[in-house]
């Protein structure tokens, strides 16, 4: 082997192994580049948080076999503006939404199959496209396509250093081995599984966070890039966080620990007090605020309390609810102050106004003269047995990232575009998501910018 060929065996190195990384690898390979994917996990755990996903939000002008109706660019953008409260890079977000239209077809061409929305997620059937078999099935298809195209994939290949020379990428280091390449795509996720890093912003509270996905997203690549002159984007405390069952494991509990019953009851904290309007909006639009709400409570724990009339109104979840014949006994089981919980439930019940319950619409069941109010689906909690789910903040992924442009090209701290460094997925999600979340948008960010990053990385070295 000559010194020259040894010097640059690969055109593009993709760091990461999830949706964004694989879309980048496939798209770079299709442009003719020699591509190496470096996945920190082994073959079973490959794919990071993509393993736990199930759908992708893409704009589309008409219903399809798996989508129940059109979802235009404007509506998508309005949804994004609402959830982020305007904290988004508008031109980049609009660009992403426009590009998302062709993702439905492109992803399918890479071997991924769609199915109609899953049972229990009807409200997403128009906007979101579901992967047949879920995120791991999607990953399996992408990996097969990448392998068939000749992309080289290395598992258990954790990158420990990146060599950047005046904004130009030179090489990565894996287990002491220097791997040079002509371009880099960083698609290695956020820093959500790095509890020490989370503690910098959240303090000791972060010890009580559960990480819904991979334990591998320690933010090593993000840290290296930021330290070596790439411009930072996003609020480090912002993340996708939902309230999940407190009994879930520390990592990789995934979708099955989520609880869809907040709207059917009340949520109290360790002092047995309510702290937020449980009936603010239709659940899929509000589920993603509850992680932060619970994170702000004492000991980062809360309890969803409901009665027998609601038990079968929501999707079953992994752990059974804790039950008791009376509110007082329920409080004892939860180790809450029984008097306080009885008081909270009694005053809630007294404030409930008559109405017609309908969990599919913003109904007229609400409280009067209660702070905070419950504005919809408020029904008295009175039919024994009584139930509770303990919940903790479940962090899906963080938004702090590297700034990119419409070519998915990283921007350096001084504002220049990096000549051969690109990013996709969680590591740059903060460009689009200043805060908040809309179901399936993480996969859109990953796939759209992954495809672009791979293409642009290939073009940057092949042109």
């Amino acid at each position: 082997m000559t010194a020259a060929s040894q010097h640059e065996e690969y055109d593009v190195i993709v760091v990461g192994g999830g949706n964004a990384a694989l879309c980048a690898a496939i798209s770079a390979r299709r442009e003719g580049a020699r591509v190496l994917v470096l996945e920190a996990a082994d073959a079973f755990w490959r794919g990071g948080n993509t393993r736990h996903t199930r759908n992708m939000r893409c704009a589309h002008d008409a219903a399809t076999a798996s989508l129940s109706g059109p979802y235009g660019e404007e509506e998508f953008f309005d949804d994004l503006l609402r959830v982020t409260k305007g904290k988004t890079d508008e031109p980049l977000a609009r660009f992403m939404i426009r590009e998302s239209k062709s993702m439905l077809g492109w992803i399918e061409e890479q071997g991924v199959r769609w199915q109609p929305s899953l049972g229990g997620t009807l409200s997403l059937g128009r906007t979101n496209s579901f992967f047949l078999g879920g995120g791991r099935a999607m990953l399996n298809a992408l990996y097969q396509t990448a392998e068939d195209l000749g992309v080289e994939i290395r598992y258990e290949a954790e990158v420990t250093d990146i060599e950047i020379d005046d904004g130009r990428f030179r090489s990565v280091t894996v287990a002491g081995e220097r791997l040079p390449a002509r371009a880099l795509v960083a698609a290695a996720g956020g820093f959500e599984s790095n509890i020490d890093w989370l503690k910098r912003y959240w303090g000791e509270a972060a010890e009580n966070f559960l990480i819904r996905g991979t334990r591998n997203n320690k933010g090593t690549i993000l840290r290296l890039l930021l330290d070596k002159g790439v411009q930072e984007v996003g609020d480090p405390t912002q993340c996708h966080a939902v309230a999940i069952d407190a009994r879930a494991p520390k990592y990789d509990g995934g979708i099955i620990t989520r609880l869809d019953c907040v709207v059917f009851g009340i949520v109290v904290n360790r002092r047995a007090e309510r702290f937020y309007d449980e009936g603010e909006d239709i659940w899929p639009k509000r589920y993603a605020i509850w992680g932060r709400l619970v994170a702000a409570q004492p000991d980062q724990i809360a309890y969803i309390i409901f009665d027998a009339s609601s038990l079968e109104l929501f999707m079953p979840s992994l752990y059974p609810p804790i039950s008791a014949p009376s509110i007082r006994e329920l409080a004892e089981r939860l180790e809450l102050d029984p008097d306080a919980l009885v008081h909270t439930v009694t005053s809630f019940n007294a404030a409930v106004q008559p109405g017609t319950f309908d969990d599919r619409i913003l109904d007229d069941c609400r409280t009067e003269g209660l702070a905070p109010p419950k504005t919809h689906w408020a029904r008295r909690i009175e039919k024994a047995p009584f139930y509770a789910y303990p919940v903790r903040p479940g962090i899906t992924f963080t938004y702090l990232g590297v700034r990119v442009n419409q070519e998915a090209r990283m921007t350096m701290a001084d504002g220049r575009g990096a000549p051969n460094m690109f990013a996709a997925g969680e590591i740059m999600a903060g460009n689009v998501l200043g805060e908040g979340y809309a179901a399936g948008i993480g996969m859109t960010i990953g796939a759209v910018f992954g495809r672009i990053a791979g293409r642009e990385a290939a073009r940057s070295v092949l042109s």
Binding site: R136, A137, N140, Q144, R247, I256, Y319, P320
Partner: protein
């Protein structure tokens, strides 16, 4: 930080604190299946893969009957194992195909008639081998004892050639009785299964559900991982198992059709076997025989190459014994066809009849029953889907 171990203890938790919906089950495999269905029911990512998950979603708790139904609905395509983010080594240890395979095998024993024969499923490979050896020995010994060596090793051609070695009526009596026994024993198993899963008898008379189940079974609709193909040696889907199963099943049905046609020829038209190569029984039997050679060999090869993770829970001895029985049936049948005008015909006939006899009498106590219970499970699944779509029709 509150430790919720006390709550896990309360529900009799399994791996990672997860638990099933019902505290008591007849076997450990059923308890594990309940735990898995509880996990799967809160995920549902696999609902597009096959009939098992939609049927699961119609339930919130899982009795032994429910689980036996779901286990027999599972075609063991393996897609959900490779698609699952919680399959081993994840601490939730979700391995639906392996667990349902184990439940399924136990259910065969549970439904066996007479009950005393339930144990035949435990060491099925050995049982089938002994049955085969006995049957072949008896037929050969019988031929040797009752037939003049000159006749046994003679060359016979023309109508009635076979019956010079064994009178037609004797043959019909022996195989008719064996067949009747198998049909009756399997029928008793069907009754036990249907009662266990708790479906009304009326469903078995519902033409819509029966037709749907026939289509699903006939096309192996659920052996395709939701469209991509089933998983065997790795996560790359392929359709080879489905293809070879089709060859085996339709080969078997063609052989059955050949025998039925021959019976009609004999009694209605007075035409005695052997028939010329271009006649219907021979054409059907030859085509079927070839399918029943290629199919079982293909299925055995796929079994050999199967991902060790997916092989868990499958009763390899039982599966292999049944495939070898089918293969021996077709091979001896084809050999008989090719060599029927030579002196070895007598012994080949004894061998073939011995194999077929063993196949018949062991049918209720081996892999053969999988098709029966799966078809019934498909009938119920079709009915349930219909009920769900038209709730007023309950």
């Amino acid at each position: 930080m509150t430790d919720f171990a006390f709550l896990r203890d309360m529900v009799g938790a399994g791996p990672a604190g997860t638990a099933g919906s019902t505290p008591h089950h007849a076997t450990a495999a059923l308890a594990e299946a309940d735990r898995l269905m509880t996990v799967c029911n809160s995920c549902r990512y696999c609902e597009g893969l096959c009939a098992v998950f939609p049927a699961m979603e119609m339930r919130r708790s899982f009795s032994d009957g429910d689980l036996n139904y779901l286990a027999n609905l599972c075609h063991n395509c393996g897609a959900c194992y490779h698609d699952c983010q919680f399959s081993p080594p994840h601490e939730y240890a979700v391995h639906v195909p392996a667990t349902l395979a184990q439940v399924r095998t136990e259910s065969y024993a549970q439904y066996a008639w007479p009950r005393a024969f339930a144990g035949l499923f435990a060491r099925n490979g050995l049982v089938i081998a002994v049955a085969l050896a006995l049957a072949v020995t008896i037929f050969i010994a019988g031929f040797v004892a009752w037939t003049d060596p000159f006749v046994l090793f003679g060359v016979h051609v023309g109508p009635g050639a076979f019956y010079r070695l064994m009178p037609h009526n004797t043959m019909v009596a022996i195989f008719g009785l064996a067949m009747l026994y198998a049909v009756f024993a399997i029928g008793m198993g069907v009754r036990a299964f249907w009662r266990d899963i708790g479906e009304p008898e009326a469903t078995l008379r519902d033409p819509g559900s029966l037709w749907q189940a026939l289509k699903d079974a006939g096309s192996l609709r659920h052996l395709d991982g939701g469209g991509a193909g089933c998983m065997n040696e790795n996560e790359r889907p392929s359709d080879r198992r489905r293809l070879h199963h089709h060859l085996t099943f339709y080969g078997f049905m063609l052989c059955f059709a050949a025998t039925s046609t021959a019976t009609l020829y004999h009694y209605l038209l007075g035409m005695q076997a052997p028939y010329p190569w271009y006649d219907l029984p021979v054409l059907l039997g030859t085509a079927g025989g070839i399918g029943m050679v290629i199919g079982p060999i293909g299925l055995l090869r796929e079994k050999w190459r199967r991902d060790p993770g997916l092989r868990q829970g499958t009763p390899v001895g039982m599966d292999v014994a049944f495939l070898l029985m089918l293969l021996l049936t077709s091979l001896t049948g084809l050999a008989l066809l090719v060599l029927r005008a030579t002196p070895v015909m007598g012994l080949l006939l004894a061998l073939h009849l011995g194999v077929v006899f063993a196949l018949f009498v062991t049918m209720p106590y081996g892999k053969f029953v999988h098709g029966i219970y799966r078809f019934l499970a498909l009938v119920r699944a079709a009915k349930e889907r219909h009920r769900e779509l038209a709730p007023g029709d309950r």
